[in-house]
């Protein structure tokens, strides 16, 4: 747990951070976000004492940082920066081994750890270990930057706009990979960014800062649903409702649904909808029928509009935002939800999304 209590930082006349208090629970990812000069980077750098606060206290698991040896403290906190800052005269392996070397680990366990970390960030140790930073792409360099920060298995990781300098496609990949790593390792992460989409995607808690103060600290969902001030509302953007829907899964709003069997006689169709869904004997989604167009004496199977379930159905883990987008695109009021085998498990309706969204923002 990281606790900042009434932390203040002045540079001469300028006030960088003003009486900031914040608790970051162990194992969560806290994003500090705000415009340039809002004090987010200063706050981050006070945690590993690259900046000393003017007043206030910072505690890690209860122990105040200022009582600890500064280098010992930093060796136990991972540190990733936007410019990466790999040592150009050292190989990838030597770079990753920096903190273990400072902690005087033996050669064998250091080498094993380096390989483990390169695997973790998705780079082949055999191919990359002996390369120099000048031979890496921007995305590869930042993966090494992350691996280097995690080398000595620190409980806390500080990341200052780590993916800010790479192209959008690479950024997207690095973000999702780091989310996976974070799910596995459960580090306490302080993450600085000015990209609200990145914040909402990565964060357990988003802390919005303005002029050295916290204006709102909330989960991404609540931040989007209830921006505390007009500044936050502007900052999260006019599409905050859509952003918020991106945070929820189809499973959160779907309702159970049934499909007609393919063998059913047309006359037996008793559906409240004009276009009921159809499933096969195993319950797999196969398509839909137009009830107005079926004539007596035929089965549902004969009047079936067949579709590919994997393409047409929503997945439970898909986002509500994508579900909405699909409905708008297809011009439909509802979409079926299927599991990995294509079995119909439920449905999502436009009305449900609307209600869900309104309830969230209206509260």
């Amino acid at each position: 747990m990281i606790e900042l209590t009434n932390v203040r930082k002045e540079y001469g006349e300028t006030l960088a951070v003003e009486d900031l208090s914040l608790r970051i629970p162990t194992g969560t990812l806290c994003v500090l976000i705000g415009p340039s000069g809002c004090g987010k980077t200063t706050t981050l750098r006070m945690i590993n004492r690259l900046v000393e606060p003017t007043s206030g206290s910072i505690r890690l698991d209860g122990s105040p940082v200022e009582t600890r040896d500064v280098n010992e403290l930093r060796r136990n906190i991972g540190y990733v920066i936007q410019q990466v800052g790999l040592f150009p005269h050292m190989t990838v392996s030597q770079n990753v081994a920096t903190v273990p070397r400072l902690l005087k680990w033996d050669k064998k366990s250091t080498a094993a750890r380096v390989n483990e970390l390169l695997d973790l960030v998705g780079l082949d140790p055999g191919e990359y270990g002996e390369k120099y930073p000048s031979q890496l792409s921007g995305g590869e360099a930042q993966r090494i930057g992350v691996a280097r920060a995690l080398a000595a298995d620190p409980q806390i990781v500080l990341m200052d706009e780590p993916f800010g300098a790479v192209d959008p496609l690479t950024r997207d990949i690095l973000q999702s990979e780091f989310i996976k790593i974070q799910r596995k390792l459960k580090k306490t992460v302080v993450f600085v960014t000015h990209d609200i989409d990145e914040a909402i995607r990565m964060a357990d808690t988003v802390v919005v800062m303005q002029e050295g103060r916290i204006v709102q600290a909330d989960s991404p969902e609540d931040l989007l649903a209830r921006p505390a001030t007009s500044f936050v509302r502007d900052f999260v953007g006019a599409d905050r409702a859509l952003k918020r829907l991106a945070r929820f899964a189809v499973a959160d709003i779907m309702v159970p649904a049934e499909g007609l069997g393919v063998d059913l006689e047309a006359t037996e169709i008793a559906s409240e909808y004009r276009f009921p869904w159809v499933v096969d004997e195993d319950g797999r989604f196969v398509g839909w029928v137009d009830t107005d167009a079926v004539s007596a004496g035929t089965t549902v199977g004969e009047a079936l509009h067949r579709v590919v379930a994997a393409e047409f159905c929503l997945r439970e883990e898909g986002s509500v935002k994508d579900a909405l987008s699909r409905m708008i695109h297809e011009g439909v009021q509802s979409l079926p939800v299927a599991d990995g085998d294509g079995r119909l498990t439920g449905s999502v309706t436009l009305a449900a999304i609307q209600e869900f969204s309104t309830r969230g923002t209206a509260l």
Partner: protein, 379 residues
């Protein structure tokens, strides 16, 4: 057409012009001025060959042939010039000239220097190999050609062999002491200016200031105070401190060598990417480890380049030190100037030139070896 090609063509033009100057000077003895012979009088065939080769060189760089063809033409030109030296006694005999020594005329000097610069201007890869070929050809000529015993600069060397070796040693000693001292002090100044920004401006004002004083003036300026100190404190005189000779030369040469070393040291350390230092500090490197493991290795190639510049400059500056009695190869130069003996001047100038080129090549080889891998080093 790129810049390098234009330079080579200008040098080729210079080579053609050189043919209008006397090629060989035949002298009856050391004192007389001798008779100068243009190459056309000695051997029209060689004159024509040279002319063709220079023109070919200029043409060869106009196309897209790469550096290989012009390099081979340059080697051919070198061999032609060396052959002229080899053949000269025979040609003079054929003309019925009596001589005891032969000097090279302006044509030969201009021609040889043009070829050398052409080789330096061609691309590095070809350059090194061919440069050594050229040196090897020259050594073979001087080792085996009977014509060498008539070359006046060689005769000067034979007459002054012991003094030549002594002055050469003295030249190298002055060079080593001054650049060695300047390296210690200059690296100190560079790091001091980097660590304490408040020192940067006064330190560099001093080092830059020294550089603006003409070398002869600086040598002269040191004579008076050093002479005074030496008179006032006999102890110092016992230690070898005098107004002229080694001490003022050593001080002045050291001061000159300071600027490139101090400036490059400062640039080397200040040029380390702040993000690299921030990452290192953020991961818990203490000040000592940060300095020794990050700053020093990253600054090394830049500092060594400063030392390289200082050494090459100092080789030339030591020549001037001869004027205040410090010795070195410059003493032949100034003695030759005084006696109006160009051969003697050459005896001083040629080894200085060779020394500068060899030391420069030496650093070109060792700087990449001493620099850490992974960072770009200029060749």
């Amino acid at each position: 057409m790129n810049r390098a090609n234009r330079v080579v063509q200008a040098l080729a033009g210079l080579g053609v012009v050189s043919l209008f100057f006397p090629s060989i000077v035949a002298k009856a003895n050391r004192v007389v001025s001798g008779d100068a012979f243009p190459l056309w009088d000695l051997s029209p065939l060689f004159a024509a060959l040279l002319l063709v080769a220079w023109v070919l060189l200029a043409v060869s760089v106009a196309g897209r042939t790469g550096p290989r063809v012009p390099a081979w033409i340059a080697i051919g030109l070198t061999l032609l010039h060396l052959l002229i030296i080899h053949m000269a006694p025979g040609w003079l005999d054929a003309l019925g000239v009596t001589y005891s020594r032969i000097s090279l005329g302006p044509h030969m000097w201009i021609g040889l220097f043009s070829v050398a610069f052409v080789l330096l201007d061609l691309q590095t890869r070809v350059r090194n190999r061919l440069f050594f070929l050229m040196v090897a050809a020259a050594i073979v000529t001087f080792a085996f050609s009977p014509a060498v015993q008539f070359l006046s600069t060689y005769l000067e060397f034979l007459g002054k062999r012991d003094r030549f070796l002594y002055e050469m040693g003295r030249h190298l000693m002055l060079l080593g002491w001054s650049v060695g001292t300047a390296t210690v002090v200059g690296v100190g100044i560079g790091i001091g200016a980097w660590r304490r920004p408040i020192l940067e401006s006064p330190l560099f004002a001093f080092v830059n200031g020294v550089q603006t004083i003409p070398s002869l003036a600086l040598f002269g300026l040191l004579i008076a105070p050093l002479a005074f100190l030496s008179m006032r404190f006999p102890v110092l005189r016992q230690w070898g401190l005098r107004g002229i000779g080694f001490t003022p030369a050593y001080i002045a040469l050291t001061l000159y060598a300071l600027l490139p070393i101090a400036r490059n040291t400062y640039l080397g350390f200040a040029g380390v990417d702040p993000a690299v230092a921030d990452a290192a500090r953020g991961m818990g490197m203490d000040t000592k480890a940060l300095f020794l493991q990050i700053y020093v290795p990253l600054a090394t190639p830049v500092v060594l380049t400063g030392i390289r510049v200082a050494v090459v400059q100092a080789v030339g500056n030591v020549v001037v030190a001869a004027l205040i009695g410090a010795g070195g190869l410059g003493s032949f130069v100034f003695q030759g100037l005084g006696q109006n003996a160009p051969d003697l001047i050459m005896l001083g100038v040629l080894p200085v030139l060779a020394m500068a080129i060899l030391l420069d090549r030496f650093f070109a080889v060792i700087i990449p070896l001493l620099s850490p891998k992974g960072i770009p080093v200029q060749p």
